[in-house]
Amino acid sequence: MSKTPTKAKAQAAPRGIRQTMSDLHIWTGLLAGWILYAMFLTGTVSYFREEISRYMRPELPAAQALPDAGQTAERVAASILRQAPGTPQMRITLPTPRNPTASAFWRLPADGQPGAEAGARRRRGGGAFGEGLFDAATAERLHARATTGGDFFFRFHFNLHYMPPLWGRWIAGLCAMFMLVAIVSGVITHKKIFIDFFTFRWGKGQRSWLDAHNALSVFGLPFHFMITWSGLITLMLMYMPWGLQSMAPPERAAVRAEMRSFIPPEQPAGRAAPLRPLADFVQQGEQRWGAGGVGAVQVNLAGDANARVIVTRQQAQRIATTPHYLVFDGTTGQMLQAKDASGPAATTQGVLYGLHLGRFADIVTRWLYFLVSLAGTAMVGTGLVLWTVKRRARLPDPDRPYFGFRLVERLNIAAIAGLSLGMAGMLWANRLLPLEMAQRAAWEVHAVFILWAAALAWALLRPAKRAWVELLWLAAAALALLPLLTALTTERPFWRSLMDGDWVFAGMELSLLALAALHAALAWRTQRHQPRQRPARKAADAPRRPAPVAPASVTPTPAEPVPALATLPAGESA
């Protein structure tokens, strides 16, 4: 695409904007590429985070008809108050069709008081809290295997892991800025990017990888731009706090009030006063927002005269994430505050945040999100591979590439094939680790990184092409065998899921098989690839190479493309 003059001439002639933008695009893409790939893939599967979480908690019952929201709130609150009578604050998340289990967390009274739990989770900044899952109909505590479920992938994609979340978010934010620059520079450098969209040259080595990368970038361009900008916006208070710092505290609070619906408890009055039935408050919410319009109920100081009940709107009902909630006096039932409007700038921020999360999406839209996001992942992956393919052709001695090339080549293998293996590995760990194991949830996550590191080691030790093929086959097997593993280790074998119409489990397992097939196809194509005879060099600084090149078993990664739209990522997903 870029008709670069030879090195000698390039130093003399001024470089055009398309060339400089191409260089910028390549550098920003390469430096951030491996982390971006991981962020993209884990972000992609996060669109089915609830489904993955349910798949990883097979003890929980399959979706049933949801009981009345108000009744559910009352039952769960009663259950919590039995366990932690003096709790100053509890928040109950009501069941939804995607997640038919009620969940809650509550602040525990100080140690020594009734309800305090030894070894309960500690929030950063002190204060212990309890949490649990509750059956929507009976409010009995549900127990499922200890796992972080799909939430791990969700949190990883902006926190990373094995580091303080703040560091992870800075790194993710930097990579996101690199991505934003890569998008802009990518569009500038390829002026005819839309017209050229239907141009795809199959079987032409570097050109095919480039065409694949271009196609994946273009047809998902609205999404890629939105997801990158909105991703930065989700953490904008951290990345660009300067405006807030310059403002007076009340104005600062006004900004924060537009981004979250956390209402801290009042000072306790010290007088006991009965809490009005929560169903009344939920009903008012449903009157205002429609059936299923209430997403969560928060109760501050239950049993005290200063009790408050905050009813929060169901996020799935709307795109924007700006807070919509109603605050009631818990004992009199009077509505104290109704927040359901925001200014245009705040709403814009909320809409962008909401577009990023996609919580509003119906099943078809959700699948579109997933597929286009997967394409974005493949865009990053093809970009990384393209870098090596392009430079392999220019290597003076392909059997002894320079250090930078070897580094990129090996990191590509680990970042792409290795990640698939690691993510699949988490599901394997979920099925195999003993249920009573200490730190079980943490060890499921360790499994991801242990496998990922092993893949890196494999990539460093084996010849590059072999490493690609072997790791891709391994990932394919790991994904394909999960339904069988589930059948053997849980009560939810795939035939039962299909017969019961349990589309969470059935859908997950079908998707795992599809992803396995994808990896197998990639492995097969890579294995079968024979590098073509090197054409005569036009570059002045490279003498002619003898043809043909070494046989496939010795040559590193393929110069011919694997199917252009076959994506490299994997991992389980729904």
């Binding site: 017209i195 199959w202 079987g203 286009v372 739209l565």
Partner: protein, 97 residues
């Protein structure tokens, strides 16, 4: 938005991108083995844009036009990808014959 709405939306987008492709020289050669004239190409492109306009109208007419727009964005991406994939496969199978 019902499955039927989604199906209609996707069909409009698929038709749109297929028409746009038929208005370009390279895909014409792949699909029809000969380039169409300038007038015919323009007609196809016009039809393509027209179908996209229809899709936009359908998006805005949906209950919740913001959701409609989001769905439109997703469907256009998917439809464009599918048309490209069809062209790639056609070219590949054509080549090996």
């Amino acid at each position: 938005m019902t499955p039927a709405w989604h199906l209609l939306m996707f069909t409009l987008c698929l038709g749109a991108f297929a028409a746009l492709a038929l208005g370009m020289e390279r895909p014409q050669e792949t699909l029809l083995q000969r380039p169409l004239g300038v007038a015919a190409s323009r007609a196809w492109r016009l039809a393509g844009w027209g179908l996209l306009a229809a899709a936009l109208w359908l998006a805005l007419a949906a209950p919740g036009w913001t959701r409609g727009l989001v769905a439109l964005s997703g469907h256009t991406s998917a439809a464009a990808a599918l048309v490209l994939l069809a062209l790639v496969l056609r070219e590949r199978w054509g080549a090996t014959r």
